[in-house]
Symmetry: C2
Subunit: 163 residues, 2 copies
DNA sequence: ACTTAACCTAGCGAAATAGTCAACTAATGT
DNA sequence: ACATTAGTTGACTATTTCGCTAGGTTAAGT
């Protein structure tokens, strides 16, 4: 079992999407900037999220990604599974052949642990996270910082043109 | 977060120990044979278990390892932590500096998940596993198989001597 | 002395992670 | 029509960890 940045990035990006894609699609460039995730890596993750029917992409100017369903219908378990993070804690993947065709001494323990975590993550949806106080505060701060970056960039371009 | 064979082996070995070390210490050779774990790898794991005061080693013939406390006082969380498996699911290890000195959008989610798993594993002790039907059945079968291996080995040695 | 088994250290091959880089295709605004 | 934006794909890579091997040293029993 393993839960790494891959799954964390995926959930963070999906949450960012849930926040900002109400009106129009959100570009990966924006998400990458706000959440400080490598753009190329995000692209890989979103390829998987799209294949799992969690997001849809719109091409061309003004394009980007948006959610396929309501935030209340997308669980953390869905997202984590979509990017291929293994929640299962057994060695055998549930086949009960961990030790020479038989189950190992602790097979049941890991099966139950995996099931436990799965149920926990299935119960939490993007909508649950959206209404959390802390999440809203952080998201607002990120928006402000991103806005400042845009302003600095525009200012720099302006000065460049004047030269 | 990550739970690999390292933690699984450690718990399995400790459970084997709880089963067989009632009367006298158990050698890692026996555990390695019963649980099909590499002996050298087991030695590394037991070095950590010993440093965490979960087991004590007795050198010399008739030596081996035994538990430091009652099986009911040793939780799975203790064992997993002793061999250094990270249960924590955050990127920052709880420091809340996942994103440029601040907490990332999903920091709380991973904190709570980690805490949830920790509590779950803290509640399960070696004694809980010992009384499980499945565990007893598997352990008995392993004992029989190990006994057969010994008999085959003795027979082979006997035939060798006759040559 | 000799065996047994704990204890210690260094290193290795395979796999996975967390990316990067570059080229390609598809849709849109002008 | 054409440049721009956005998404897709694939190959490549530095780094880390895992599971394990190989070799030794130390301490205790017989």
């Amino acid at each position: 079992m393993r839960l790494t940045s891959k799954g964390r990035y995926a959930v963070t990006a999906m949450l960012d999407l849930a926040f900002h894609s109400q009106l129009k699609p959100v570009t990966l460039i924006d998400i990458a900037a706000r959440q400080t995730i490598s753009l190329s890596y995000l692209e890989q993750l979103f390829a998987r999220l799209r294949r799992a029917n969690l997001v849809k992409g719109v091409r061309g100017p003004g394009g980007g990604y948006s959610l396929c369903s309501n935030p209340s219908d997308i669980s953390i378990a869905d997202i984590v599974a979509a990017v291929g993070e293994r929640i299962d804690a057994t060695k055998c993947g549930g086949d009960a052949n961990c030790q020479k065709h038989h189950a190992c001494l602790t097979h049941d323990l890991w099966m139950e642990l995996g099931e436990h975590i799965k149920v926990y993550l299935e119960k939490i949806t993007l909508a649950d996270l959206l209404i959390k106080n802390n999440v809203q505060k952080i998201a607002e701060m990120q928006d402000q910082e991103a806005q400042q970056v845009v302003e600095v960039r525009n200012y720099a371009e302006l000065m460049n043109e004047r030269q």
